[in-house]
Subunit: 353 residues, 2 copies
């Protein structure tokens, strides 16, 4: 019997509503496939904790989590009381960096039964993977403000890339494309406008790509690439992008499949030196929190990706099949045009597993 240690971190807002549904589904899947999960519920990494303690996490958060096999994460952020850059840099972005989860893998897929916001698209037409660099690039707190508070204020924000960081995510993406039927990789860039980092990034894509002659590579500027996610989604297979561009594409892609309430993500440390983290792409959604109407699928699918990463592929497949059935036959939450609650949708998926 396989045993895994999982830290369960609901966070803020709808993170607290969708997490119980993921746990319900995990319970069903682990019973069926004879897996044991040792769950450690974590109250910190939340804005409530910040308001009580003046920091998002205890000082020894890293040692407390280091022994875990994975982190199952809801959503963090409550801008009404804690500025987003404080809550995120104090939790999620710390996990990604200090646990070196350098791959953020985000599947985008149109499901049967989910009304597509793009005209005339059917399941099969939208099915690709966004591979996002997750530890460096545009997300930094480096830089500063000069002449602060005066008319002459000047702000510098630095983006930082490394060959080490770029090559490993590019290589991961090439490998992924290699394992797929179409063997096509789109590289997001903006080398015409962002004149130092992006031409360099293009060069790294060429260098790493030299090892993968079977892959067709298409470099696209982020502006037209975003347009094509809407106009020609069938063009995409694997898409690799820097931290910021990957962030944008992995909200936009899921939007074209109906709702970002479906989109899961896996923040991976492929070497398993540190725990990986699994979380929905959506945020804490303060506007709908407390009404039990959030779509739990992104959270549940993230939990399935966790099982897959831990080696329990069958359990993953069973959960995904249950998600497919519920999306096709209902019950569905409001964002999908239904009127089911978060709980009802979670229960339905758990029952099918």
């Amino acid at each position: 019997k396989k045993t895994f240690k999982i830290a369960v971190i609901p966070g803020d807002g709808i993170g607290k509503e969708v997490m119980p549904q993921a746990l319900r589904v995990l319970e069903a899947a682990t019973t069926r496939f004879d897996i044991e999960l040792e769950l450690s519920p974590i109250e910190w990494a939340s804005c409530d904790y910040y308001l009580a303690h003046g920091q998002m996490m205890p000082d020894d958060w890293k040692s407390r989590l280091q022994g875990q096999d994975a982190l199952l994460f809801g959503a963090v952020g409550w801008p009404a009381t804690v500025p987003d850059h404080i809550s995120l840099w104090g939790s999620l972005l710390k996990f990604r960096r200090e646990f070196d989860q350098y791959i953020n893998l985000r599947p985008v897929r149109l499901f049967e039964g989910v009304p597509c916001p793009l005209a005339g698209r059917k399941p099969g037409d939208i099915d690709y993977l966004v591979v996002r660099e997750n530890t460096e690039g545009e997300y930094t707190n480096l830089g500063g403000v000069m002449y602060a508070g005066t008319e002459r204020e000047i702000v510098i924000q630095e983006s930082v890339y490394s060959r080490f960081g770029a090559d490993r995510v590019l290589r991961f993406a090439f490998e992924l494309a290699q394992a797929r039927e179409r063997k096509h990789l789109t590289v997001a860039t903006k080398s015409n406008g962002i004149a130092i980092s992006m031409p360099w990034w293009d060069g790294r894509a060429d260098a790493v790509g030299a090892d993968y002659p079977a892959i067709t590579v298409d470099k696209q500027h982020i502006d037209i690439l975003s347009a094509r996610f809407v106009l020609q989604p069938g063009r995409f297979d694997v898409v690799v992008a820097s931290n910021l561009f990957g962030d944008i594409l992995s909200d936009l892609g899921p939007a074209t499949t109906g709702t970002i309430g479906l989109a899961p993500s896996a923040n991976l440390n492929p070497e398993r030196s540190f725990p990986s983290l699994f979380e929905p792409v959506h945020g804490s959604a303060p506007d709908i929190y407390g009404r039990n109407i959030a779509n739990p699928v992104a959270m549940i699918w993230s939990a399935a990706l966790m099982l897959q990463f831990l080696g329990a592929a069958e359990a993953h497949d069973a959960i995904l099949a249950a998600i497919e059935t519920v999306l096709r036959e209902g019950p569905r939450t409001r964002d999908l045009g239904g009127d089911a609650s978060t709980t009802e949708m979670g229960e339905a998926i758990a029952r099918l597993v």
Copy 2:
């Protein structure tokens, strides 16, 4: 009789195909409204010029253009022979900066007769303005590569913002929103991830917004904002964004209205200390160049925006009406599902004017 001096800069690729159609339409409009245009055709600011001279423009480009009332610009870029960051930084981005065209105004609108890629949307459902900062921010060539060419390579790319630069574009956007019926302004941000510049940018939006109590302001992170351009386009009225975010949104927005072949832009120096520049949002499109199939509407609409800025509002309105008619009744280019050529579509619009 009003006379205006216009520098005509076709540039590269389909820029050379759509420009003659804009000139054809301008000819019709100026005849009808008794305006005189003194056109100066410019061969430089093109990759052909670069290949012959080793630079995109002659050294005295600025003094040669300074006396013009406006620049009508096609598209620049031919990556097969000149890297994009060289061609763009040597031409378009120079114009924007050295002529201090700090507003990039990009209307997004769904027209009757244009098949919408979003399901169930009709004309009226998508109608907003993107106001893009056009001279600073993420587009810089500041930074560099350390340990270049080695495994330890580190790249720094600096974004630079100023209170001067942010406030003037924010103020322009607030004024624009003020003059519109809905009085709603969306501010693009990414203050949860980009920890220095974006929280600061949010603060400038608050500071400038204090002078506009009648405007409702909605700050949205660029990831979810992109998703909402697809899911809830009716939510938007005026959208203000930094240089990069504005670039992305102003390709994505037009994509949701059917094709980026329609989207015009006005690069404005509102004080008229320098000539303003009018250009399609689309690029030089090497993949379709030479076949006379490019959609000329973005170029023609840009020319109309130029007339409007120069004070010839009636001529603008007549061109826009002609565009509306042709989009509704044809002929239409391929990107719109028709089979007309660039020339046929241009002729049809000119005839109606």
